[in-house]
Amino acid sequence: MQLTLWTYEGPPHVGAMRIATSMQGVHYVLHAPQGDTYADLLFTMIERRDRRPPVTYTTFQARDLGGDTANLVISAVREAYERFKPQALLVGESCTAELIQDQPGGLAAGMGLPVPVVPLELPAYSKKENWGASETFYYLVRTLLKDLEPPERVPGSRPRANLLGPSAMGFRVRDNIEEVRRLLDRVGIDVNVVAPEGASPADLLRIPEADFNICLYPEVAQTTCAWLERTFKQPFTRTVPIGVNATCEFLAEIGALSGIQVSSSLSAEDQSRLPWYSRSVDSNYLTGKRVFIFADATHALAAARMASEELGFEVVGLGTYSREFARQVRQAASDLGLEALITDDYLEVEARITEAEPELVLGTQMERHIAKRLGLPCAVISAPFHVQDVPARYSPQMGFEGANVLFDTWVHPLMMGLEEHLLGMFRDDFEFHDGAAPSHLGGGPEANAAARDGNGVKTMADGGAGPAWDHEAERELRKIPFFVRGKARRNTERFACDAGLETITLETLYDAKAHFGR
């Protein structure tokens, strides 16, 4: 038994749902109790999908258990087929049904339906969501493609690639597909099939027509890409184009796979603004910022590389919940002189973040909450995510535009350079302390800082009768830079209040400064 407060990944059948929900013309019959229908809301609420996941649940109850739960599967499969007329049917079970051993996949396969039936066996007590997504995509592709002959390439046409791995509840899938498409188009490569997102089983049948595969989300597509390489001699990419350097390497990789001179087809405008932004003087303050990274393997690896090479941060923690890719993350961590954190225990992640004392946390929805609790700036870079991480605007993470987006996203929670410079100048002033918040982020963080200091005292400035400022003190107060004036005012008033003073004089102001500046 494993004591779990929050989980990074759902059970493996949720991974299977991600594949079904991504696609057109696929239906998933899931042998599961009624409560498991909660999973629909992941897609309809968090991603705001406008249709129900194509999933029929058998919703067996305790009273069915002694009797015929197997028949329930058969009637659910039949009804689902008749109603939805899918081109392919996935049939599987969740944790509870696994225990009653009805073998729903086998039952459905024996029903003689006129479409491919893919039985899914996803062990719920040892595996998790990403693995379930990966296996489901692989089983589906293998079932549909296993008897196909590798097609002949038409000579003279542009090289073609498949984009594999983008799926429902994957991070920034919609925009990453678009960005990678643009990138490929610019260098002269056509996109053959994008899958699973948006694809139908008929589309999957065209996968072998491409020259190579782009493994965009290895957690979901690597197993499938490896099988396609063995079966259809389709090579696949190993670099995920997140960050300027990784995007360049990715381009070099597809150049080699397609025989295209990539560098000559990209103009200066195609490149990212990140290198200049990072070199510009305002970014000096980013140097050596301590950053803690925890995410799925792909995003953790990419973020670690970008953080150290492209933003000049100091990576002080690196980890992942994707055990399947632990080896790569361990390697990357050791290259940075760190020991990787491989865990899905939220409390352990929290303890390690606290220990590492980072100035920025890059993580998932979970780390957002840890960071909030610790009063640290944070950006979400990976699933699991929440509704606010599915923005309306175009915001890819991949490619050159993705690098621009990431620069903005990571730097936004921090102080601006000029601001930090001023903070340095006024470092010795009482109104500054570690908790002073970036001026563009409103009152929230400052309130947090106050809470951290145990400074819960309602100040006079909040209203009510308190000490009055005399003319001279008021004038002096106005000389203090605007972005810390509020704090100076509050501290002085608190000081005056504690000292039982009715009027704040110039004297009081500087007494307070000395008091808080200790």
């Binding site: 038994m1 779990t4 759902g10 059970p11 705001r48 109850q61 944790c95 719920a124």
Partner: protein, 434 residues
């Protein structure tokens, strides 16, 4: 999607809803399981911890239902069964003991621990009652350890609260023979509880106790002098367990809306021999205020058609409120199961033309919904956006259990929950560019 024609609906019989024909369906049910109740129960019982013994699915459900409310360190968790736990039972019990000891060491402030059963723990017949006894002994009574089931094969959504409270019934101290008291059962927001306490006080009814209490160490007494007033319609099992301990159930509508709240308070007043004059004197002002507050919302809701998909088990009382006080027309009122004993007063108030359905066959129900196209549909989170995309306005049922909606002062808030989606549609205007 090619859907078969909507199933034909049996015509309502004339007479009251109490001797009614209802549509009974079996098929896919789209509803949370009883584990969901942990989300609101743990907010109320501030010194209790809820440990689900289940799978990763169970952990994921609670986390998804709790949504954005990620707490620093919540007072609930899941002991996730793993492959090696399924190998042998002895191992499983030892593992559970280990997890519980770890947990209690980490959280010394916990006075009551609920071991919550799930589908997997029930299917493998893990005996949590036994475990609770064993663990209570091994912790020398420092912590009360109680078990109940929130499994999806046994319970829907709000039934988890029923099971949880029922598990507390044997733990309640006895009410001395000679004494009388009023026991209000069902989780209420503290602010609502305080409002009711003031009203009962002014009426001269007391002592008044609440189950669940704010702290699990302050369990209310029960005995033959206890009058039971249910604040939620889904607490039938708890009510029956309390009746078995001598309590008398007061038949009343549920305190939603002015009429429901009046009827509910009246049931208590009658049972405590409070005169009509006194009752009038205490309730007239808040009732009038609530009616005034409601009037504005009634303008928006009157004449609008509403359907409820079976979900929170609040459907019947809410349909009654919306029909009688807000002028809405219920098209179909679905409920996961119909506990007539708990709904006698409600059913007699509900208009006899109302179509009730019990159980669910999701696809057929959606077919009916699409052909009837009510102005508002009350449904679960999974269905809301897809229905909105089909042009049907929706209200999430889960909000009805998270938001204070009971009593006079909340009557307008309750109506407003149903107005908001309609008002929003009125406000939004988009041009189609061509």
């Amino acid at each position: 999607m090619n859907s078969p024609a909507p199933t034909s609906i049996p015509k309502p019989a004339a007479g009251g809803c109490n001797d009614s024909v209802i549509v009974r369906e079996r098929g896919q049910r789209e509803v949370f399981c009883g584990l969901t109740g942990i989300v609101w129960l743990h907010r109320k019982l501030q010194d209790a911890f809820f440990l689900v013994v289940g799978s990763r699915t169970c952990a994921h459900l609670i986390q998804s239902a709790a949504g954005v409310m990620i707490f620093a360190e919540p007072r609930f968790a899941t002991a996730i069964l793993q492959e090696r736990d399924l190998a042998g039972m002895a191992d499983c019990n030892e593992e559970l003991d280990r997890v519980v000891n770890e947990l209690l060491a980490r959280r010394p402030e916990i006075s009551t621990l609920f071991l919550v059963g799930s589908c997997p723990s029930e299917v493998i017949k893990l005996d949590l009652a036994n475990a609770a006894q064993r663990l209570t002994l091994s912790h020398n009574g420092r912590v009360r350890i109680v078990n109940y089931s929130g499994s999806g094969i046994e319970t829907t959504f709000t039934q988890g609260e029923d099971n949880c409270l029922k598990a507390l019934v044997p733990e309640l101290p006895g009410l001395p023979e000679s004494q009388q008291s009023l026991l209000v059962v069902g989780t209420l927001a503290d602010v609502v509880e305080d409002q009711f306490v003031r009203l009962f006080d002014e009426l001269g009814i007391g002592p008044v106790h609440f189950l669940p209490p704010r702290r699990a160490t302050e369990l209310p007494p029960v005995g033959p002098g206890t009058r039971l007033l249910l604040a939620q319609p889904f607490l039938g099992e708890t009510a029956r367990a309390l009746i078995a301990r001598g309590a008398t159930l007061l038949e009343a509508p549920y305190p939603f809306g002015v009429e429901g709240t009046l009827g509910w308070l009246q049931a208590a007043a009658r049972s405590f021999d409070i005169g009509n004059e006194q009752f009038e004197a205490v309730t007239a002002i808040p009732a009038a205020r609530a009616r005034r507050a409601l009037a504005h919302h009634r303008d928006i809701l009157a004449g609008k058609r509403i359907s409820f998909l079976p979900d929170s088990q609040l459907e019947i009382p809410l349909a009654r409120f919306l029909q009688r006080e807000c002028g809405m027309q219920p098209v179909e009122v679905g409920t996961p199961y119909l506990d007539r004993q708990m709904l006698t007063s409600e059913l007699s108030l509900l208009d006899s033309g109302t179509r009730l359905s019990e159980g669910q066959h999701l696809e057929r129900q959606l077919d009916r919904l699409r052909s009837e196209r009510p102005d508002l549909t009350v449904c679960g989170l999974g269905l809301a956006n897809p229905l909105e995309a089909e042009g049907l306005a929706t209200k999430w049922s889960i909000e009805l259990v998270f938001t204070p909606i009971h009593g006079f002062e909340q009557a307008a808030d309750l109506a407003e929950l149903f107005c908001r989606p309609l008002v929003r549609r009125e406000r939004l205007r988009f041009q189609t560019c061509s």
